[in-house]
Amino acid sequence: MDAIFQLATANLVSPPVLFFILGFGGALVGSQLTLPEAMAKTLSIYLMLAIGFKGGVALAAEGVTLALILALLAGTVLSSLIPVVAFIILKLFSNLPRVDAAAVAAHYGSISIVTFVAATQALEGIGLKPEGYMVAVAAIMETPAIIVALLLARGVRADVKRKSGDAQEGLLKEVLLNSSIVVLMGAFVIGAISGQPGMDAVSGFIVVPFTGILCLFLLDMGAVAGRGMTQGASVLNLRLIVFALIMPFIGACMATPLAWLAGLDAGSAALLLTLAASASYIAVPAALRIALPEARPSVYLTLSLGVTFPMNLTLGIPTYAAMATWAVGG
């Protein structure tokens, strides 16, 4: 408990989290600290590129291990099961219509790549460097949740056969070829090919300014999250807020035994828990606009972006790190 507390404090006074809080607070008092969209998009590409490349270089050093295969498997299982659990909880304890519940479930089953980046950085800061292949685990966890959640929603949508064939195609494109994932995995492969000499050539861009650029990006993300919470406040009720605060920990608990079974080290285990706990707010919303147009963005975005993301960034990550250390040993 004490360890969690120390980790949490260290995390809270780290510059990236403080800049996130600045952006979030700015939005609440009416100062718009967002970056121009062109820049926000570029920074997210930069972060994917950097984290993917670093992961690839690490993989080149580590080699492909059984743990990598097991971790990919664990990620797939989590991304498929978490939506089911989230959906059941929402149907039991909230009054969300089925389609909204399924949409929310998709978000919590999938992952937030920004949370992943921030967690990687925070874990390295406390000496829990995750394995390089966790990048691939993050990538693989994005999609299954969407498919499962669509099946969950399907019950209400038997009427939309014709459209859905078309929609599915667009959906797959939207999800599998979305630039974040392609850059992340592409940079991962490039890092694996070019190895340490490649890293030496680009570390002045990929490593040196990384934490600082993350600060700038989280300032923007904080502003967007704060805006999202302000604008979506009307759709929130106590039950939904409680869901958004508790569900991450349920996801992390589901991930814990899998991390242990897969034989992950503490850093990688902490990342797997974080991925399970995180909720998408970039890739999944775009996919659902096409696949589930009836679901209300104000519900799923406010929960994942306005409540869960800030909670994970501040309190969640240190807790998951502590849980992972406890489960697999420091």
Partner: protein
């Protein structure tokens, strides 16, 4: 100068929907279209603002296409079916152009 009467169809929709709108227009045989980024706005789902966004959702674009009078009605019906369940609006206006043949 002699001008010719045409219809201008303007669609404001969320970015993830735009490629479908364009596909529908293209399959319906329009001679061209132009798409613009909107910066902010308000509609049935409340306010939105492009600033700070990373993905495609949450921001609107405007698609403009000049149509001949004949084709306008048919295209309108198809567009209506596509955008009806989505965040989107469509308007039609009269315009004149200088060359009859290219629209």
């Amino acid at each position: 100068m002699k001008t010719f009467k045409k219809k201008q169809l303007t669609i404001i929709c969320e970015l993830p929907l735009a490629s479908r709108v364009v596909k529908t227009l293209t399959e319906a045989g329009v001679t061209g279209y132009t798409q613009f980024d909107a910066a902010s706005g308000r509609g049935s789902e409340g306010e939105w603002n492009r600033d700070g966004l990373v993905g495609t959702s949450g921001r609107m674009v405007m698609i403009v296409t000049i149509l001949s009078l004949d084709e306008a009605d048919g295209i309108l019906a198809q567009i209506y079916e596509l955008i009806e369940p989505q965040m989107a609006i469509a308007t039609i206006a009269n315009v004149e152009v200088l060359r009859d043949d290219i629209f």
